[in-house]
């Protein structure tokens, strides 16, 4: 078995795979149905996966329903992304004490237990690739992020049931897997309930060898292709990306920014659920006992203080902050990291309390390219 090979395993095989990961000491995380959503939790076997659950997503709307069928991955994405495993919501970067003018500084060690992810979507793999560029591809990489990424085993699962908020096809990140996985599964429901497996790495090959697998037939491969094609055809919405970065760059004074600002609550939900948003606060905290900690924690450009400079914030209006978020995600991300910031997962659309749709906003500006707020009666 090598990277690039394929195979088929059954439900029992998936169960054994998860058990094997746990047995090897991985903190094994997968999708679980909890609190009315598909979130991430520790899994011990296939029974922990959300069988029969399906999601219904729309702008400002997310719900899961139990249909009683055996399908394990019949949903798109939940609010949680795998970003939080590698770029943690809060992290202590160093801890220090000062006594008698002497400084004693320590960097907390990385946790020993490696992580295994079961159920990463192709769009999420694309998002991790984007984050790799941002956090580990610069002159000064985040080594803790890089170490976590290197030590993690990923079992991806292709999408069969995109939701109405998905647009990975527009961003060329799915619904089929591209790269960044050790094993990739496609759930096949026509005929026996089984999983088509693609091997992505030596580690993946080695794991597969421990399971009972059968050779993939042409029928299996066709069935897998049908799933992917079906997902592509059933994509919920689309984003026209042709010339998008330049379009947004020349429409910074477009009246749409003020218009969307009348709806936007500046709550930052979109940045929280987005799998590529990376803004962080770096703050020093003093404890009562004199210990100093430098903590890095998730921040959002929708926070009015995000751009604070002595005197006041650079972006005091919702309009300017929404513009910052959208133009960064779809335009200036290219200048900074030579890739788009958006992978088309649609989370920002579903989890916006007022249902603002990034694809709709971009389309509205495209439709009236060049419109100016100041264009007036002359």
């Amino acid at each position: 078995m090598d990277a690039g090979d394929d195979a088929v395993i059954d439900l029992d095989g998936l169960d054994r795979l998860i058990a094997l990961l746990v047995a090897r000491g991985y903190r094994t995380i997968g999708p679980v149905a909890r609190d009315g959503a598909i979130v991430h939790g520790e899994v011990a076997g296939a029974d922990d996966l959300p069988a029969g659950w399906h999601d219904i997503q729309a702008p400002g709307r997310y719900r899961i329903e139990q249909a009683g069928d055996p399908e394990l991955f019949g949903w798109a994405v939940g609010p949680a992304s795998w970003k939080s495993e590698f770029f943690q919501p809060t992290e202590t970067v160093w801890r220090a004490t000062m006594s008698d003018g002497a400084l004693s500084l320590r960097v907390p060690p990385q946790p020993d237990r490696p992580v295994a992810i079961v159920g990463a979507r192709p769009c999420e793999l694309a998002a991790l690739e984007v984050l790799d560029r941002v956090l580990a591809g610069g002159e000064v990489p985040d080594d803790r992020y890089r170490a976590r990424r290197a030590g993690t085993l990923i079992v991806a699962v292709e999408c069969g049931k995109p939701s109405s908020t998905c647009f990975c096809t527009s961003m060329d990140t799915g619904p089929d897997v591209r790269a960044g996985y050790d094993l990739a599964l496609t759930e096949l429901l026509v005929g026996a309930h089984r999983f088509y497996v693609m091997v992505g790495s030596e580690a993946g090959a080695e794991l597969l060898e421990q399971l009972h697998w059968t050779a993939a037939t042409e029928d299996d491969r066709r069935a897998r292709q049908d799933v992917v094609d079906g997902a592509r055809a059933g994509m919920g919405r689309s984003l026209e990306t042709e010339g998008l970065a330049a379009l947004l760059g020349r429409n910074l004074e477009h009246p749409r920014w003020d218009e969307v600002a009348e709806r936007c609550l500046s709550c930052g939900n979109c940045t929280l659920v987005c799998p590529t948003c990376f803004c962080a606060d770096v703050k020093d905290v003093s404890e009562v006992d004199g210990t100093i900690e430098r903590r890095r924690s998730w921040a959002s450009c929708f926070d009015v203080d995000h751009s604070y400079l002595h005197g006041g914030p650079i972006r005091p209006t919702t309009s300017s902050r929404y513009r910052q978020w959208l133009t960064h995600k779809l335009s200036t991300w290219w200048d900074q990291f030579d890739t788009s910031g958006c992978v088309g997962c649609g989370r920002c659309i579903a989890w916006c309390p007022v249902g603002i749709d990034i694809t709709e906003e971009a389309a509205a500006i495209r439709a009236t390219d060049g419109a100016l707020t100041q264009e007036d009666v002359r």
Binding site: V93, W94, A96, M98, G101, A102, L103, L105, R106, V107, P109, V134, L135, G138, E139, V140, P141, D142, D143, R144, L252, E253, F278, C279, A280, D281, V282, K283, D284, S286, I292, R294, R296, A299, C301, H306, S307, Y308, L309, H310, I314, R315, P316, T317, S319, S320, Q324, H328, T332, D335, Q336
Partner: protein, 286 residues
């Protein structure tokens, strides 16, 4: 595990500061204090004119401050810090012998080594903006003569008591640089010029062809100054400005310093005016 990063290397954890001792301090005008700092281990890393360090006041926080001394100056590195918040206040109060943290050097530089032979350099500084230029001007003035162009320093301040580095300004004039100083508002006894700093330009007879212009100060000053220099004929691509935004990591990871396509800590703070800063300056956030 104790951080093993050596000065200037970030192999272990990029947010770990190196301890430096305050070996000297000088109260400047206008709520500004210049700290002289030496690392507790090793030497000051090599830096380039205009770069900045992230300076930690242990227990308070960290701020971005440009070096105000010239690279390669023996011994300590200098930072001139203006008291504008709790971290800068703590740094301004730091006594000799106390420890601060330093991460850096970061950012782009003034690029004074790109000055062509014989080309003049115009330096326009407003208020604290003279601090990030000080090391560059020192070295440029020292290089004058022997086929090199002249240095023209135009420094503006709000009022006479806010003029920084007065001794340096006089020394540079003594050394043959053209020095123009003006204030927005005079005080009794002030016999110098009163007016906006850009009004000093007509009185600065620099040779336009090949000239380099370096601007640092409030954004409004750099905006008007940049335009005035281009109107005078200076190549917009050879006008450089120093941008300032909220900086927390200094290494392009935290996203706070974004300005259009730039991460100011990584792609700046010094950027060219023509075709970049001139457009970014026009960004309005109402």
């Amino acid at each position: 595990m104790l951080a093993e990063a050596t000065a200037g290397s970030w192999a272990v954890a990029p947010l770990v500061p190196m301890p430096y001792v305050v070996v000297g301090r000088r109260e400047e005008a206008a709520d500004v204090v210049t700290l002289s700092l030496e690392p507790t281990q090793g030497a000051v890393p090599v830096f380039r004119h205009g770069q900045f360090n992230m300076v930690t006041s242990f227990g308070r926080g960290e701020v971005a401050v440009s070096m105000s001394s010239a690279p390669g100056a023996p011994g300590a590195v200098e930072h001139s810090i203006r008291r504008v918040g709790s971290v800068t206040a703590a740094l301004c109060d730091a006594p000799v012998g106390s420890l601060v943290g330093i991460r850096g050097p970061f950012g782009t530089s003034w690029g004074i080594d790109e000055v062509e032979d014989g080309a003049d350099v115009v330096v326009m500084a407003g208020g604290i903006g003279l601090a990030p230029l000080r090391g560059a001007v020192r070295d440029l003035v020292a290089r004058q003569g022997a086929g090199r162009g002249r240095v023209f320093v135009l420094a503006g301040a709000r009022s006479p008591d806010q003029i920084l580095f007065h001794d340096d300004l006089m020394a540079w004039e003594q050394a043959g640089a053209h020095v123009g100083i003006s204030v927005d508002v005079a005080a009794p006894g002030w016999t110098g010029l009163v007016g906006v700093v850009t009004a000093l330009l007509p009185g600065a007879p620099f040779e336009v062809p090949g000239s380099l212009a370096l601007l640092c100060g409030p954004e409004i000053m750099m905006r008007f100054g940049g335009r005035a220099l281009v109107d005078r004929g200076v190549d917009a691509g050879r006008v450089r400005v120093s941008l300032e935004r909220n900086m927390q990591c200094g290494i392009g990871l935290c996203g706070h310093c974004q300005l259009g396509p730039l991460l100011v800590c990584r792609d700046g703070p010094i950027v060219r005016y023509g075709g970049l800063a001139d457009a970014l300056f026009m960004e309005r956030n109402r």
